[in-house]
């Protein structure tokens, strides 16, 4: 059992990271009052932009990690630009945020494959190499947790964990965080306090776009290595993690880790003898069944931001 866990854990963490950063971005968006179900699409856009930039730069400078970082940066920018569509529709036009988000998902899947096909001939973009894994010196020698948490890690993992810590701080300890949360709970109160609600909501959506784009690109530079026109539902899983995690950073960390772990177990079950006895279907379905159960259990006490999903109309009584 223990050896199995040690084997699985690094993979589980790698799988968790894109989920985590995307869910964290959605947290900013929903806390500002905008529901963003376009996460999937934003991740696809990030994955595409990242893969494309890395593909081009790796041709120029082979074996240079700068190409990868460049890819991540461009993925974030692409995510921001794409999320502006959602922001404009739901903030300026007071459109239904679910429909706008769905539109993002549909456009993203189609446009990226279209572009990829035009540029590379096939719909796929393969990068030469991603980030390499390493054991963190010293920390990986700590008994028990060293093996679980600090072996076979990627740079991006540490970057994202840093972002999570920073985001928690920003949300709860800075004026920006206070204002952002106020816009999601009671935008009229925020407005009365002299806060520009639209601006804050734009910030929330744009952060969500940046983080989703980053999440999508991280898939490429870690476990996937190839853009295929989809992120296979990770965006929706991130949304589920947000709800499961009760719109709190640490809750999201726990929820994404759970999904990451459960999905990894399902993916590797066939090659690990102690898991092979369980029918793979059950393992595959497991995280989703748990999600449904969790949503049922939590629905009573659910603390979604009260104004999330509601267009802001300053004249409304």
């Amino acid at each position: 059992m223990w050896t199995t866990l040690v084997q699985i854990m690094p993979y589980a963490i790698v799988f968790t990271i894109p989920l985590l950063i995307t869910a964290l971005g959605a947290l900013f968006s929903e806390r500002s009052g905008i529901v963003n179900i376009g996460l999937e699409g934003l991740m696809v856009v990030g994955a595409f932009a990242g893969a494309f930039v890395i593909f081009k730069f790796q041709a120029l400078w082979p074996n240079n990690a700068a190409a990868l970082w460049m890819g991540l940066l461009v993925a974030m920018i692409a995510g921001i630009l794409f999320s502006l569509l959602h922001a404009f529709a739901s903030i300026n036009l007071s459109a239904n945020q679910i429909i706008s988000g769905t539109a993002i998902n549909m456009i993203a899947g189609a446009i990226t494959v279209f572009l990829a096909r035009n540029m590379t001939g096939s719909g796929n973009i393969r990068i030469t190499s991603g980030f390499s894994r390493y054991d963190v010196p010293l920390l990986s020698d700590i008994p028990v947790i060293g093996k679980l948490l600090f072996t076979n890690t990627y740079d991006t993992t540490w970057l994202i964990l840093l972002i999570v810590a920073a985001s928690t701080f920003v949300l709860y300890k800075t004026p920006f965080g206070l204002r952002l949360r106020a816009c999601g709970e009671h935008p009229h109160a925020a407005e009365a306090a002299g806060i520009n609600v639209r601006k804050m909501r734009y910030m929330g959506v744009m952060i969500s776009g940046a983080f989703s784009g980053l999440g999508g690109a991280i898939i490429i530079v870690t476990f996937a290595g190839e853009f295929t026109g989809s992120v296979s539902g990770l965006g929706f899983l991130a949304l589920a993690s947000l709800i499961f995690g009760q719109w709190k950073p640490m809750g999201i960390l726990a929820a994404t880790l759970f999904f990451g772990f459960a999905s990894t177990v399902a993916n590797v079950s066939q090659v690990i003898p102690s898991l092979a006895v369980i029918p793979p279907v059950i393992l595959k379905v497991f995280p989703y069944v748990v999600t449904l159960l969790a949503l049922i259990v939590f629905s009573k006490s659910s603390r979604a931001p009260q104004a999330a999903g509601e267009p802001f109309d300053s004249g409304k009584r």
Binding site: T174, L178, R179, H186, G194
Partner: protein
């Protein structure tokens, strides 16, 4: 003369309506100045102009003697003008401190400095006797406390002029008294207050001067101490008014509503009403007096079918309806004017016409074979609008959200009375309304009684209960502590009962 704020000759037009025609209001430093006017007289617009939410088309605004242009609420805040809105603007999941500092946060570098802010709030709170805990969460504190947080919010921003918009509409009698003390403390510290209200009693108790406006014009500014309530009411509505409701002695008939040992739990799953019994006969108004939150809401909800009682029975004209559906009850003759008009009374984004048929849309002529008959619905609504004087921009097609509170209330009352119910439950029917509308609604309720209908009146206004009711039941902590004939009691006796002192004997119901 030392004026904190002068608004001279203000005119403001909205498309199709002149909200302020020619209004002048001068607020002296250190006074409580009441602004009195009927619903739609232009009070909110005037205060909106002072607070920078609208721009006046004509007229001057001076603050501390200097002419100013107030382009938005932030400018008003900088000029030391603060407003407590009727609907509080507080984030319920935030603490008191977080709400107060929102928008003008104290910080250390990039970090929120909650401690310093809390200390200052504590200081302000003590200085003005507000008694607010800066670390409490808004959702955990009472409405009265929330209002004090709103006041603190302004004081924190160094407001010198405080606008209180209908501050007592949501308060219990005790909280109203506390607010009076707070206002006096503020005045002593040199603040000036504009008090928007319809309640003449409160003007009498708290204000120094009073400016009365009617249909967008200033009628006059009077010295409160030297002016009677009646005189102010007449200035406001422009005709003679009576506070005493004219009514003939009741001629009670058969029992219409019979509540027998009813026990009901509240949302927190505690028993809010226990073993409550009451009878209401045809041709009488039974009032229920009590401090807010003593089981009145639960009683009404149990009778109206919105909440399941734990035990006991409710009968209507002899038929048991304890477990009947809401529609069943409506069809058998229960009309309900709910406590919260925006939550349970109206669908705010529907038109008046649609709201008027919420309970009868399925009946002919409003619909036939499942298809709505828009024309019939419109005619039905227009009848109610005409007979209850519901004022709106586009008649039956107006969206209810755009109506003023008073007109929303009139629409609901009209709808329920139009059903001609055998039992009319009226919960706070005149909450937030002006004297003219109150008088009108009281007349209609008595008219129902005189037609031989039963009326159950629940109100937090003791005057209203005493004036309208034939019999008065008093609740305290969910128990009926007494039932008295209205003609044989007075404010003192009811007040004692409300406080929980049980009556001797009392008539069995």
């Amino acid at each position: 003369m030392d004026y904190a704020v002068e608004m001279l000759g203000i005119r403001k037009e909205f498309p199709g309506i002149v909200a302020n025609d020619d209004i002048t209001l001068c607020l002296k430093r250190g006074e409580v100045h009441a602004l009195l006017g009927e619903n739609g007289a232009g009070k909110s617009t005037l205060m909106g102009i002072l607070f920078g939410m609208y721009q006046a088309d004509r007229g001057l605004v001076k603050v501390n003697g200097k002419e100013v242009r107030i382009g938005n609420p932030n400018v008003a805040t900088k000029l030391g003008i603060g407003m407590v809105h009727q609907h509080f603007k507080l984030v319920s999941t935030f603490t008191v401190t977080e709400n107060i500092i929102l928008g003008s946060e104290t910080r250390k570098g990039f970090v929120l400095d909650v401690k310093t802010a809390s200390r200052r709030i504590e200081e302000l709170s003590q200085r003005y006797g507000l008694n607010v805990d800066p670390y409490a969460k808004i959702e955990d504190i009472s409405v009265g406390m929330q209002q004090r947080v709103e006041i603190l919010k302004m004081l924190y921003r160094d407001a010198e002029v405080l606008i209180l918009d209908e501050p007592t509409a949501v308060l219990t009698p005790q909280e109203i008294l506390d607010l009076g003390v707070i206002m006096r403390n503020l005045i002593q510290e040199g603040k000036s207050i504009i008090l928007i209200t319809h309640k003449l009693k409160e003007i009498k108790a708290n204000a120094h001067r009073c400016t009365v406006i009617r249909r967008g014009r200033t009628i006059g500014t009077v010295d409160v101490a030297a002016t009677s309530e009646l005189a102010m009411a007449e200035m406001m509505v422009g005709r003679q008014v009576t506070f005493k409701v004219d009514k003939k002695p009741a001629v009670p008939g058969a029992v219409v509503l019979e509540v027998d040992s009813l026990s009901v739990k509240n949302n927190k799953k505690c028993l809010a009403l226990s073993d409550f019994s009451l009878q209401v006969r045809a041709g009488e108004i039974v009032g229920i007096a009590g401090v807010d939150g003593n089981g009145q809401s639960e009683l009404v909800e149990a009778i109206a079918g919105l909440r399941k009682p734990e035990s006991g029975t409710v009968r209507l004209k002899g038929e048991e309806i304890t477990a009947m559906s809401v529609r069943g009850r409506i069809q058998r003759g229960i009309g309900h004017i709910p406590e919260d008009r925006q939550k349970r009374g109206l669908v705010l984004d529907y038109s008046i016409a649609e709201n008027m048929v919420l309970e009868v849309y399925h009946r002919e002529p409003h619909s036939r074979r499942g298809i709505l008959n828009k024309l019939a619905i419109k005619q039905y609504a227009e009848r109610i609008i005409a007979s209850f004087d519901v004022r709106s921009g586009q008649g039956a097609a107006s969206i209810v959200r755009s109506l003023s509170g008073g007109n929303q209330q009139k629409a609901i009352i009209g709808r329920e009375i139009e059903l001609n119910p055998d039992l009319l439950i009226a919960v706070q029917p005149t909450r937030g309304l002006d004297v003219g509308s109150i008088e009108y609604i009281h007349k209609r309720l008595i008219e129902q009684r005189d037609k031989g209908k039963a009326v159950l009146l629940i109100s937090l206004e003791l005057d209203e209960i005493l004036n309208l009711s034939d019999r008065i039941a008093v609740v305290n902590q969910g128990e009926r502590v007494g039932i008295v004939e209205a003609s044989e009691t007075d404010e003192n006796e009811i007040g004692m009962l409300m406080a929980g002192v049980k009556a001797e004997g009392g008539e069995g119901a």
